[in-house]
Symmetry: C2
Subunit: 325 residues, 2 copies
Amino acid sequence: MREMTLQTIAEEFGVSSATVSNALSGKGRVSADLARRIRARAAEIGYAPSPPARALRTGRTGVIGLVLADLSNPLFPRYARAVDAAAEAAGYGVLIADSHGDVGAQTAALQRLVRRGADGIVVVPRRGTRVLELEVPLAVIDAPSTPGNTICADHRGGGAALAARLLALGHRSLVLVGANRDSNVQRERIGGMAAALAAAGAQARTIWLEDAPAPDFPALAREGATAFLATSDLHALTVLTALQRAGLAVPAQASVAGFDDLAFSAAVSPALTTMAQDVDAVARGALAALSARIAGRAAPPEAAVAMTLIERESTGPAPATPGNL
Amino acid sequence: MREMTLQTIAEEFGVSSATVSNALSGKGRVSADLARRIRARAAEIGYAPSPPARALRTGRTGVIGLVLADLSNPLFPRYARAVDAAAEAAGYGVLIADSHGDVGAQTAALQRLVRRGADGIVVVPRRGTRVLELEVPLAVIDAPSTPGNTICADHRGGGAALAARLLALGHRSLVLVGANRDSNVQRERIGGMAAALAAAGAQARTIWLEDAPAPDFPALAREGATAFLATSDLHALTVLTALQRAGLAVPAQASVAGFDDLAFSAAVSPALTTMAQDVDAVARGALAALSARIAGRAAPPEAAVAMTLIERESTGPAPATPGNL
DNA sequence: CTGTTAGCGCCTTCAT
DNA sequence: ATGAAGGCGCTAACAG
């Protein structure tokens, strides 16, 4: 099958390729009738413009880059899908560049994308990292406390809402579990929970897993903690299984909750209560901001997308006699 | 900062842009001295070729597509990373196209990539799906029983090896847990396990989760099953937590194992024993085959990459008195 | 051996 | 309302 170009169609109609271009783009002045016939013919033979030729001419590739810097981010597939969908809707292709490991690799990934001609880049940066300025428009998805952040879930608000729900269930002695202090996202989630708990006069103790590889969660429960709130379902799962293995009943003796509604969260027993982020909305917001910047328009202001509580089986009323097992 | 092109450098040296191109590529015939000076100058000013211009001229974009059709595939991030790394090593960029849902969407994703000019495509197809022939080279990562498969992990061999290990631990009554019958990968894993078990005269019962949403695993254990082998760590986790919640000790009273070494597998308690695939090796193989096809060379024959048993805490010797709880 | 000419497919003036 | 011309940056095919 012969490759179709504007020239091919132009010859069929005995006109110039410029006229075909005009007819197809609708920009130029072409007689309505001719334009319609040209469009019909183009659709019929499945004409598609050559991306490289167009890119060469216009200086834009129609491709954006996506950098998910933190491999440990279990939302990877959902962000990839969401960004891809939003990009597709805006007429962009999505080039990925996985950045293994450290900040240097993240920077290298960004530069690779620039070299490949990305018109703009969406970055979910590695925790604790600042994305350096580049010659291409950027949209950063991280946390409000991150400099240069473009859009993200409302981690602090989500933390506060989760804490509020546990408070309503009667919990007064809780353990907050984070993994990495240098993650703005985790710090904000913890901060939101701690603030809400403190305001209600409840006891809260925070544990960072990077400090103590294997905290003794069952012991904490025996000492009176009735709820464990982790910054990720991954860590909530760690707590849940540790408690169960020690013979504690969840949620009868202790409640457990996490964040992000990961793939396994509904599949475990008891199913995990979790604070979910609207990945699609965040991705759409990032793409809107990026498109605006690429087009030279002013980007919308920084935004935070509300999180949603998904209440399942792992949370329940605080036991009447905490610690009394 | 002015954009650098071959022409820029050519003018500095008073030669034509073709000469600079020849000097840089090493292909053409340029005096050794001039070539060296040109290369030095290019490096100095950070010259990088324009991908669209090169693509327009050569007809190749230097970009391959990646389709991870099954969102539920928890290996998504690892495949994305591995394919990206292998592609980068081969000088390719990676365009993703996420295909939501059904086979039609998978086909649409492939066609989008073709329209964007992908030189070739790596596909991890949706389960139970045949990838249609396309005008671009393809590399399919699925299972040997899938028509057109290019490379994959040795699912059957992995299944057999996992079963052999449980057999060695003394287990004689096992439950095999799969999710979807239409997945070639799952069927081969189950098949490998079942064959090894049958050959040893052990009892094996297979449960497909799509048949019964919530099988009563604790009851199965009480009836004498001493080991649960799932086709994915995700389902192994479901079994593990169900058992624990019912007060059964793992692995003292029942062993549990899965496949793929997912993110949470080492984090739960007891840590999951799992049969892992070498994602990097598979990705490299896929890229080698794809590169060959793109270059018009004969692709290497279909290959299966050995899987590796990661023995952790969730498996142990069969209890002396199974079912006697 | 050393180098240059021609043109990939598209879009944007500027003439007609 | 349409066409001719030019050139984006690069490299395969030609001259010198």
